[in-house]
Subunit: 132 residues, 2 copies
DNA sequence: ACGCTTATTGATAATGATTGTCAAAACCAT
DNA sequence: ATGGTTTTGACAATCATTATCAATAAGCGT
């Protein structure tokens, strides 16, 4: 097991290898599962750094957890996220872009940014849930 | 079934008296400041009830707190929020509803919920910002 | 390579928001 | 008032996140 001094790199890689959004806790567990001795505090530190340097996106799940994801595209886009397994589909949302901009302007707002994320259960998790 | 809950009324009124979004904790403090002996647990319960019955909206602040707001319309709707002064405009978003549902279905997702909020600077704050 | 200085790490404690517990108080129909 | 049900609120428990801090590793000039 290689002991990489810069554990931040390990976190970045783990994020890259992750399909969708993942919580800091889950990422930590995941790293441990692959044999990394990384500490929870370091995972949080690394995620915070990555997020503030724009190398990762972060969002708040509906139940208050912070979720992170390495987003390949630097451009603006939105997400369709499985609230069970974290699977994430990136979606272009021109329609919504236009709508948001229009609504903002209509009410005299400028510098409009928007949070548009859709949470649901992916096909797989829906099946699992039904089986329960 | 109408429950006889005077606390819920107190919470509802306190919410009504509040301009923008407020945290459960802050609302509790605010109630205490006006002499109400209401307990923190009850505030959370009342807010939860109001939120699930559609009488209040909730969203997650960037730092993970849950914020609440009394909404005038009971139906599903979204918000246009001034990131400077907190002014909030409620917006109907049928277009977005349909889009979200469509996108979800298209990718096999079920039980779709969505977070759609637009942040910007209201006309007033834009003027102030320009003046600087 | 060696010693010295500084930055990074990670176990654990601390924090802060939220939720659970449960006995006491309030309410209601008799 | 009385018994049974519901609501309340002090406090404990929980969960994610952040701060602490001693141990360790990386840098660096020699």
């Amino acid at each position: 097991m290689k002991r990489n001094t810069w554990q931040r790199e390990a976190v970045r890689e783990a994020l890259d290898d992750t399909e969708g959004f993942i919580s800091a806790q889950a990422l930590h567990s995941s790293l441990h599962a692959t044999g990394s001795p990384i500490g929870l505090a370091t995972v949080y530190r690394a995620l915070g750094d990555l997020a503030s340097s724009g190398e990762a996106d972060s969002l708040q799940s509906p139940d208050g957890e912070a979720l992170y994801r390495a987003c390949s595209t630097t451009g603006h886009h939105h997400h369709l996220i499985c609230r069970n397994c974290g699977l994430t589909v990136e979606i272009a949302a021109d329609e919504v872009e236009a709508w948001a901009k229009g609504i903002a302007a209509e009410h005299g707002f400028t510098q409009a940014a928007h949070v548009v994320d859709v949470f649901g259960l992916c096909a797989n998790c829906t099946a699992l849930a039904d089986a329960r």
